[in-house]
Symmetry: C2
Subunit: 186 residues, 2 copies
């Protein structure tokens, strides 16, 4: 950030009064520009004993497999966001959403909220973002071709919880390697 | 938003290529400025059968009671954020955090993530933001003096779940009246 989005003058990185950390501040109009983590919403769409994965047709990690997920937009609920992202990436409709995993990606200021859910029908199709959609049984998951660490961790927890027969809500900091091929930018 | 924070030229509200909603776009440097919901993290600090509330000493809703809560900052986990906000508003330390309620405040692009937790010790003190701190039993809750609707709903759910003896993780859209006295701006 170089310029004030309100008045167009240069901003300074400085600690405002009554604050304890540096913010981008405009000395001209007085606006303080706060920067906060962004929330990504996603889904684990189930059909019987299988789950739906998408092969990415966009960078980063084009060609690798992921769950439908993307940034929550202003004006939508987290459930609506997960439904929209699933529709955009798979053309599938999901129902019975249940919040399952809140993954903290602290170094990149992202939070992933992943829902368990059901496919309304076993219908899906390729999209601009996905070159292939496929339902996978646990033993078929392409572990060596998963696009992002947070998706890998999500799937590991999911299958572990499924084996145990219970899906508690989980919140965890997911360690990511910042020098790895492009960690999530949904 | 009027100006590009990257290059300082005026922005236009228009739909970018491969997108389906209007964004603030800079025709000069090409940057697209996405705007997303912000996450507020908060706590229900328990001590035996009582919970800690803060009387606000800042606007909006100065003089009314609330739970410690505020915007999640870049570079911190949601748990760390809830601990920090509790410390800033009550000087209390909390332990054993458990995610409890994710409240969607869709019209104002905010999400509240509230943790249940324990006070490490029954020690707290007034701060710049709180003129009074007090442990309340359920029958002592000042329902007519709660600062925000989302806090009221959180407390109602909490006491209802406590009576039932179980605290499932909850996610819900909380209806707020936009013409009410200043809905949350933590």
């Amino acid at each position: 950030m170089n310029f004030c989005s309100n008045c167009g003058n240069p901003v300074q990185l400085t600690i405002p009064e009554d604050d304890d950390r540096k913010r981008f501040c405009c000395n001209h109009c007085g606006m303080i520009h706060y920067q906060n983590p962004r929330l990504v919403v996603g889904a684990i769409p189930e059909w019987q004993d299988r789950i739906l994965l998408c092969r990415r047709d966009i960078e980063p990690q084009r060609g690798l497999w992921t769950l439908p997920a993307g940034y929550l937009e202003n004006g939508e609920s987290v459930e609506d966001g997960a439904r929209r992202e699933t529709r955009e990436e798979t053309k599938a409709e999901i129902i019975d959403l249940s919040p399952y995993f809140l993954a903290d990606l602290v170094p990149i200021n992202q939070l992933y909220l992943i829902f368990r859910c059901q496919l309304a029908r076993p219908e899906f199709a390729i999209t601009r973002e996905s070159s292939e959609l496929r339902l996978f049984r646990e033993e078929e998951i392409p572990w060596d071709e998963i696009a992002f660490q947070v998706i890998r961790v999500t799937l590991q927890k999911y299958f572990s919880d499924r084996a145990a027969g219970t899906f508690p809500f989980r919140n965890e900091v997911v360690r990511i390697a910042l020098n790895c091929p492009a960690e999530p930018a949904p």
